[in-house]
């Protein structure tokens, strides 16, 4: 056992201050370094990590978190309630998703190893939201509690500690020898469990060029490639030195329609777009063949799965004649239909090209406006000037209905003009007492989305990862876990 493992990823982590960044490039690294009180297990259910458990009062207003004792930070100090309070207070201020603590009235130290959250109102979905790894509510030392964004000492409680960060080059992690294993579990489980650091060190190398990353894997300079282009993976299928991992529940590809700007302000027009699209073609080209067709708004087989409810006759129709009839009914007069997309995420651009061609065939005057990612995010916040926006939703579908629907409700949903009925259902969803109740509400929401056509589900896209065959016990997950894996010659 031991040795140094090199993982390659294409993007530079914008920050290693885990709670302030929702970037996947950061998460890949930081989730090996920091830990949260609660996190998701493999089945996406909340599990205690740094907390012993949680006790929720009957009125749903108090969350008492007793903490595990003897947990050490990378600086050698023991984690106590003071650190937890300081971390959560900082999360409220600078956390990229700090709003998830909005329902929390106060964070109080109720013992040396105990913290209690008092809620403003009962929020049955709070614990699930609190587990979100998007920009995780990690526990850091009290001394870092007042640190500005990106100014912490990068100290956590995880099995690996950060020893070097050279932007655009690499991040080096070293085994934390005093790591406090969570012996309540048998092995790793989702974001938690009993983590064992077998490797002496793990280096995350930033290799932006996919061809160069594949070459480095073949040459044995890297052992894990976080994302390998599908055509390259197919080429390496028979290579005995390489193992491939398909993760088919990685992201949703969606097409968002602006309900505020003509012609997409007309529901009939949006319906025409929905029935005109050939999802299999869009997904096949945009994902290079690694996808599942799925009309539902959650992954198949997960808690809230309601199947293809309400999608019959709308999903993957490729029905040009019906689209043309609907366009006529909508009074469409060849107005420009602008598809906003970007060049940074290849799936976005490729989807836009296929969608535009399919819509043109149905008689829609589709034009593509391809810009860079920050510009796309700026333009989509404009109320007009765009009609369709191609987006790959990564973490939200993993988190489930609440996370997805929160982007489609409120003052500024993705499709611009808010839908009161959907807003009402969202409130019902987050206050539903049991998962059965919430599932029933979610079914109504999926039905509603197939009535308004304000956002179109295109399909589920997969992630292809690769490793050298010397890497043992690796399992594809939301981030490359460098613990519980080892190298064999």
């Amino acid at each position: 056992m031991g040795g140094d493992l090199v993982v390659a990823q294409s993007s530079n982590p914008p920050s290693l201050d885990a709670m302030t960044s929702s970037s996947g490039a950061s998460r890949n690294i930081t989730m090996n370094v920091y830990e949260t009180l609660y996190g998701f297990n493999e089945k996406i259910e909340p599990m205690p990590i740094l907390a012993e458990t949680v006790e929720i009062s009957d009125d749903g207003l108090k969350y008492r978190f007793p903490l595990r004792k003897g947990v050490l930070f990378h600086n050698g100090k023991e984690m106590t309630a003071k650190d937890v309070k300081a971390s959560l207070e900082r999360y409220r201020k600078v956390g990229a998703t700090g709003s998830l603590l909005e329902p929390v009235e106060s964070i109080d130290i109720t013992g040396d190893y105990e913290v209690t959250l008092t809620m403003k109102r009962p929020t049955p979905t709070f614990l699930e939201a609190f587990c979100s790894p998007r920009a995780p509510a990690v526990i850091i030392p009290e001394e870092d509690g007042a640190a500005e964004v990106n100014k912490t000492s990068l100290v956590g409680t995880g099995p690996y500690k950060i020893v070097e960060f050279v932007p655009d080059s690499h991040v080096r992690l070293e085994r934390f020898t005093d790591y406090s294993q969570d012996t309540r579990y048998d092995g790793r489980d989702g974001f938690g469990g009993k983590k064992t650091a077998y490797l002496d060190s793990a280096t995350f190398r930033i290799i932006p060029e996919p061809g160069a990353a594949v070459a480095a894997l073949q040459a044995g300079e890297i052992q894990i490639l976080d994302q390998i282009p599908v055509p390259a993976a197919r080429r390496l299928e028979d290579n005995p030195d390489i193992d491939l991992y398909e993760n088919l529940q990685w992201a949703f590809n969606v097409f968002i329609l602006n309900t505020n700007a003509p012609p997409t302000d007309n529901p009939k027009f949006r319906e025409a777009v929905q029935v005109a699209l050939n999802m299999e073609e869009i997904m096949g080209i945009s994902t290079e063949g690694l996808f599942n067709l799925n009309p539902g708004w959650v992954y198949p087989g997960t808690t809230y799965d309601v199947g293809d409810l309400a999608s019959a006759g709308y999903y993957n129709q490729a029905d040009t004649a019906r689209a043309q009839a609907l366009l006529k009914e909508a009074g469409y007069n060849n107005e420009e239909f602008t598809i906003l997309t970007d060049s940074n995420i290849p799936e976005h651009g490729r989807s836009a090209v296929v969608i535009a061609e399919q819509l043109k065939a149905a008689g829609i005057n589709a034009v593509i406006n391809q810009v860079d990612w920050p510009t796309a995010l700026k333009l989509r916040m404009e109320d007009t000037g765009w009609n369709g926006w191609t987006l790959q939703m990564g973490i939200e579908p993993y988190l489930g209905p609440v996370a997805i629907m929160s982007t489609l409700t409120g003052k500024r949903p993705h499709f611009v003009k808010n839908d009161e009925q959907l807003d009402g259902l969202y409130q019902e969803l987050i206050t539903g007492q049991t998962s059965e109740e919430r599932k029933a509400t979610f079914a109504k929401m999926q039905t509603r989305l197939y009535e308004t056509f304000s956002i179109i589900k295109v399909g589920d896209s997969g992630l292809m990862q690769a490793s050298r065959s010397s890497v043992k016990n690796f399992k594809s997950f939301r981030f490359p876990r460098v613990y519980d894996i080892w190298l064999e010659n």
């Binding site: 655009d168 060029e209 061809g211 160069a212 040459a219 300079e221 860079d372 920050p374 333009l379 939703m393």
Partner: protein
């Protein structure tokens, strides 16, 4: 000569001022900002506003301009919020990589380019001339990213002689540094070599047909003395211009080569910062690269004087 240098240095000030102003204004005009990176696609308008306040983007443009210029006059290029370090440090860290790459590539490109050009001119209208120029043309025409990948597959994957990418600082391991720099420097040199070879050839052909060369030959001077001492020295000024421009281009960062070989150089720093909208790095980085260009041009002008006394004496 001193007056000449002082005059050139002073004339650089307005150039750099215009560059700083333009980079500032462009950054103001470009849509999107750092919130895209920190907030992501699902950030609410409130979250975006909060991030803008944190990084000072909510301040009016004139206030930001005052801060930028007052820091600049104190020799401070600003602070990168994303990289958590002063812009000067961020650029200097990357300059080590870029300098390594540019120097090696320049040495290879100049040596090979000049030799090919001289050979082509001396053996004018022979197969050697045509062969050298075809090689130069191939270097000019082949896309550098493609050539880089071919070298990686050949020397990195198939033969396993050299690493496929990454950078090893010379201070850590000299051999490792040389190994990590070989393929990127060769790739970069191959594409730059063509320009130098073609310029050398045409410049040499002009000189070789002049009377003083004929006289030198008639005196019975040895062929290589005629070519390298008399002809090349007189043909060097246009070659120097091309080498000067190439140096400027290489020092400001060869972003494609840096990307293919995963080198953390200045080019990738600036391109990455544009994608992240890391305004201080973009503004500071552009100013540094513009300064490099100006500085290299001044050196080239001084070298003109060294090689050609007419320039030195102001004739």
């Amino acid at each position: 000569m001193t007056l000449f240098i002082v005059r050139r240095l002073l004339s650089a000030i307005p150039v750099l001022f215009v560059v700083s102003l333009m980079s500032f204004v462009i950054m103001w005009l470009v849509p999107g900002d750092i919130t895209a990176v920190l907030g992501g696609a699902d950030a609410s308008p409130e979250e975006i506003e909060r991030i803008r306040e944190q990084v000072g983007l909510d301040r009016p443009i004139y206030e930001r301009a005052i801060i930028w210029y007052s820091s600049l006059f104190h020799g401070d290029l600003g602070y990168s919020y994303l990289l958590d370090r002063p812009v000067v440090d961020a650029v200097l860290e990357r300059l080590q990589v870029t300098l390594s790459l540019a120097t090696l590539a320049l040495v290879i490109a100049t040596l090979v380019g000049v030799l090919l050009g001289v050979l082509a001119a001396v053996k004018h209208n022979t197969w050697l001339d045509q062969g050298s120029m075809i090689a130069a043309l191939v270097g000019l025409s082949i896309p550098d990213f493609w050539f880089g990948i071919v070298l990686i597959i050949l020397f990195g994957v198939t033969l396993g002689w050299l690493p496929t990418g990454g950078f090893v600082p010379i201070t850590e391991d000299v051999l490792g540094w040389a190994r990590s720099m070989t393929l990127p420097a060769l790739t970069l040199a191959f594409t730059q070599m063509g320009v130098i070879a073609r310029m050398t050839r045409s410049s040499m052909l002009d000189v070789l047909n002049q009377d003083f060369i004929r006289t030198a030959r008639a005196k019975g001077m040895r062929a290589h003395t005629v070519v390298f001492k008399h002809a090349l020295r007189n043909a060097v000024v246009p070659i120097l211009t091309v080498v000067g421009v190439t140096t400027g281009v290489l020092l400001s960062g060869a972003v494609v080569i840096e990307t293919v070989f995963s080198l953390p150089g200045v080019g990738r720093l600036i391109i990455g910062s544009i994608q992240r909208r890391d305004f201080p790095i973009i503004q500071g980085g552009l100013l540094v690269t513009a300064s490099v260009f100006v500085f290299v041009n001044i050196i080239v002008d001084m070298l003109y004087g060294f090689f050609d006394p007419r320039v030195r004496d102001g004739r």
